[in-house]
């Protein structure tokens, strides 16, 4: 999967134009620290990726880059999904979250680091996602998160995610 800077720049521009809420159909989305203060990002819980119909049960974007204080809103666009953090994929000192099925939750992330999360009924089918909160400790948190084992298709999806983080230089 590849992305070009122009699309990302366009997305960021649209996000800024929309005010405090940014939204992206891309596989990843990136926050830019701004004088406007914390932002809110939406992550859709979907039965299928609109850009890749073969890819079922997805979070979109599946990688979100944020700044401390930003809020993530999980949007139940399709039913039958939830979002909860994966054990050992939450930065030290931070709290995870556990959304119920079909529940739209908002989480404000203050602690820098890598937050891995999944959809309970679809995790083994590869419905997982990553939020990177910039700041000190992000790199170490990433290494801890990468060491976690996953089952089924999720293991392959996580490999794609780690590769994407690297190729897009999302750790900054």
């Amino acid at each position: 999967m590849s992305f070009n800077l122009d699309r990302r720049t366009l997305m960021i521009g649209l996000g800024a134009a929309a005010g405090s809420t940014a939204f992206s159909k891309l596989a990843f989305s990136e926050s830019h620290a701004s004088a406007e203060g914390p932002q809110t990002f939406e992550i859709e819980m979907l039965n299928r990726d609109p850009d890749n119909p073969r890819q079922r049960n997805v979070f979109l974007p599946r990688i979100q880059v944020a700044n401390p204080g930003d809020t993530i809103k999980f949007v139940a666009t399709d039913r039958g999904h939830n979002a909860l953090t994966i054990a050992d994929m939450v930065p030290e000192g931070a709290e995870g979250w556990k959304g119920k099925l079909n529940e739209e939750i908002e989480v404000t992330l203050e602690t820098p680091g890598a937050y891995g999360y999944l959809c309970t009924p679809h995790s083994a089918l590869g419905m997982v996602g990553l939020i990177l909160v910039k700041g000190e400790g992000l790199q170490a948190s990433m290494e801890t998160a990468k060491a976690v084992k996953h089952r089924g298709r999720a293991a392959s999806v996580w490999e794609e995610i780690w590769a994407e983080v690297e190729s897009e230089n999302l750790l900054g």
Binding site: N57, T120, P121, S123, R151, G152, R153, A155, S156
Partner: protein, 200 residues
């Protein structure tokens, strides 16, 4: 002349046996999708046929209340149930064992048509959120099982041999549909003997 007659009768008996198998025994369907070094497998079989083919009592899917609780499927996921299906089936290439991990399992009423021809069909069929939640079901006689599995780090060109348990059952016809990255590569029907192997 007698030898010819014997051969003719033998062929006829075999043909009748195959036809009888085709008409009178439950069928098993497999979708195999190779994606790089990964293989995704989807299985469809009648729920009552899990015991003779996979040595698994479908009652294992029932909760403590003695019924299948579809609402709880959504709460917890069903990959561990899928694991149970292949527990007694060994998978290996020439070189090594292959670990298929369950991804999801779902039961659908046999009277409700479920598309099962492509890998996307496979994902849909095993998804626990794709159908309305019904009341808990205690009798699985009229239910079909759909289960998904995923194996990693398998050479794409390698055949995988699935060895089934010996349970004293009749032969089964197995439809195998092969895909690479979701693109169809062909399909065929195999005869799976009791305790036999299936190469995919």
């Amino acid at each position: 002349m007698r030898a010819f007659g014997f051969a003719f009768v033998s062929v006829a008996v075999a043909a009748i046996g195959f036809a009888a198998t085709a008409f009178f025994t439950p069928k098993v369907h497999l979708i195999v999708d190779r994606q790089g070094d990964d293989i995704e497998l989807f299985l469809n079989a009648q729920a009552p046929d899990l015991q003779p083919v996979f040595s698994l009592d479908p009652a294992e899917f029932k909760g403590v209340e003695g019924a299948v609780n579809f609402a709880s499927f959504r709460e917890t996921g069903t990959w561990l149930m899928a694991d149970e299906v292949l527990n007694s089936v060994s998978a290996r290439t020439n070189e090594s064992n292959v670990l298929f991990e369950g991804t999801s399992l779902m039961l659908h009423q046999a009277s409700v048509p479920v598309s099962f021809s492509t890998p996307v069909d496979g994902v849909m069929s095993v998804s626990v959120c794709a159908v309305p939640i019904t009341e808990p079901v205690s009798d699985l006689t009229d239910y079909e099982t759909y289960a998904g599995f995923y194996a990693r780090n398998v050479e794409i060109a390698e055949d995988i041999e699935l060895a089934f348990p010996k349970t004293g059952r009749l032969p089964r016809l197995v439809t195998v549909r092969q895909f690479v990255d979701g693109e169809p590569q062909g399909w065929n029907i195999r005869l799976l003997m009791d305790g036999g192997t299936l190469t995919i």
